[in-house]
Amino acid sequence: MSSDHMIYMPDMEIKESDMLDIVLNKTDEYDESKYNDNDVLKALKKENLTPYDFGALLSSAALNHLEEIANRSIKETRRYFGNNIYMFTPLYISNYCENHCIYCGFNCNNNIKRAKLNYTEIEKEMYEISKTGLQEILLLTGESRKMSDVSYIGEAVKLAKKFFKTIGIEVYPMNSDEYEYLHKCGVDYVTVFQETYNADKYKTLHLSGHKRVFPYRFYSQERALEGKMRGVGFAALLGLYDFRKDAFATGLHAYLIQRRFPHAEIAFSCPRLRPAANNDKIKYNEVTETQLLQTVMAYRIFMPYANITISTRECQRVRDNIIKIAATKISAGVDVGIGGHGNNNAKGDEQFEISDTRNVKEVYDAIIKQGLQPVMSDYIYV
């Protein structure tokens, strides 16, 4: 019998906050079919959009105004970021996982090749990556506290400091004192995907493990900021549930966090569900390219100062065009397996299939070719 997904497990820090209820209730009330063309145009005319206006940009009615939305989106992007596009690469250091999430390639019941890099191997990977000129790295693990505990991640971060200026993590949610420890090691950015903000759907997708606990995951960004992190990233895995509701909830969540922590740097990722090892078991709602673009532009106009990352799940054509309009961050030279950079043979299997396989130089040149400026780091650790 599965545990209650709304009840914290022992050792999980409990947050006394009403933010979860606000996000879930407002998302529940959000009815995209009630918006008409006029609502969309009104939203586009406003300088500062309310969550209601954000809902308009995500609605079906907005599809009639994509070009106008794109024009506003590009204006906001240029105003806040100029033509800068930030480059980074993810580094997977372990793919052991204790969660059973039915759509994920790393899920603990999947029969995939598991691996964890030792410190020598991590350093070797980092050295190889740094030779490409990248100065920002995102460290990832599967969600296993047993196989990749906080001190293991901390040591990896200390190694990363030798090679990179900016370090982010995308690992299992943890308590604020653990975030604070990792911040001291050198991390400043924490991304946690909520996957879906519909708690009932969430329950049916995350069958066991720590990840099953919906509120603990939801409050990750708050705990990270209380742990002195500089910025936090948000995402729903679009396609798991009604993508409009999930995108609305993601934006609202980020909006409320920014109001509570005005100094926090906000970031969005916009992954669409893609084929992964064994995820043919689930049915998902395909999110089209048009809908993806609509979502990214809605994030941009609602929170123009947020960084938006466009995933390697997307193909070259989509990525190169979205960085012109709304996204500000792009990965390159991506390997989502374990040990594929400096340790000749990949030791562990990949989390999902990537579509854009270009190396750093190729992405760099593509950015320049579009009249944009690649930036390796815009960050100083003090």
Binding site: R78, R79, Y80, F81, G82, N83, N84, G133, Q135, K165, Q258, P262, H263, A264, E265, I266, Y305, Y364, I368, G371, L372, Q373, P374, V375, M376, S377, D378, Y379, I380, V382
Partner: protein, 256 residues
């Protein structure tokens, strides 16, 4: 251009009153923009001054230009001080523009923390130029703490909204014995010109140029506007007649 009309900051003399930003546009346009702007000072976010060998902004700034590193990214005085010291260490000189921001939405400066940083850095012989919200009391504190110039915002960074804070900047120009350099929000050459007509010592612009259709041409347009505004200020603007004057004096009856 006027002879002997120098901008003096911390004992250094400049002919140009246009401080150019280096962010938000392509690195290979920086040199042409500087030349077109005839700028002698260029700002640089120290956090962009990477040590790496790809896209390192320092490689794109011509020799002989004064670099004005800023402390963007600092959220308090302590971080600003550490960034300034790092800037001196890596050879960016003694000039520093203090930016302390702990608001990711509007990017408004924190005057209180900024003043604290000015005090510490001035004692370490930096030429300190604080970016600030135009508040007279804060500007006085910064002056007393050893600032070399005061850089009030015209409008939020990047907003291109112009001189929204005009009345308060006028007060600073009247009351503070330091160059007042309008820093953020200037969106068009006409606004830069207006700031100079009011008596601002210089104008700094970045987004207005970076987001224009032709960066090099817009840099030139700003240069001309700033020079025009300066010449108008020095000439003394003519009087503004705001209503028709009566043909016979209202007090004429006293002499009847």
């Amino acid at each position: 251009m006027l002879n002997n009309d120098k901008l003096i900051i911390g004992g250094h003399e400049f002919d140009s009153r246009f401080i150019l930003g280096s962010g938000k546009y392509s690195l290979d346009l920086i040199k042409a923009a500087i030349e077109s702007a005839k700028a002698e000072i260029i700002t640089l976010a120290l956090r962009r001054a990477a040590t790496g060998n790809i896209a390192n902004i320092l490689d794109y700034i011509p020799k002989g230009i004064t670099i004005l590193p800023n402390t963007s990214g600092a959220r308090n005085a302590d971080e600003a001080v550490r960034i300034a010291r790092l800037s001196r260490e890596i050879g960016c000189g003694d000039f520093v523009k203090i930016e302390v921001i702990r608001d990711s939405k509007y990017l408004l400066p924190d005057n209180y923390e900024t003043t604290k940083a000015v005090e510490i850095l001035a004692k370490e012989n930096f030429i300190v130029m604080p970016y600030m919200y135009p508040d007279l009391n804060a500007a006085r504190d910064m002056q007393n703490a050893g600032a070399a110039a005061i850089m009030p915002l015209g409008a939020p960074i990047g907003s291109n909204k112009g001189l929204c804070t005009k009345e308060f900047i006028k007060i600073l120009i009247d009351e503070i014995n330091l160059p007042i350099i309008i820093d953020a929000g200037i969106g068009a050459p006409s606004q830069a010109c207006e700031a100079m007509e009011m008596g601002a010592a210089a104008v700094m612009a970045n987004t207005a140029i970076a987001t224009s259709g032709d960066i090099v041409l817009m840099a030139s347009a700003f240069k001309k506007a700033i020079e025009a505004g300066r010449e108008a200020y020095i000439s003394g603007l003519g009087r503004i007649i705001d209503k028709a004057e009566a043909s016979s004096p209202l007090t004429g009856f006293l002499h009847e």
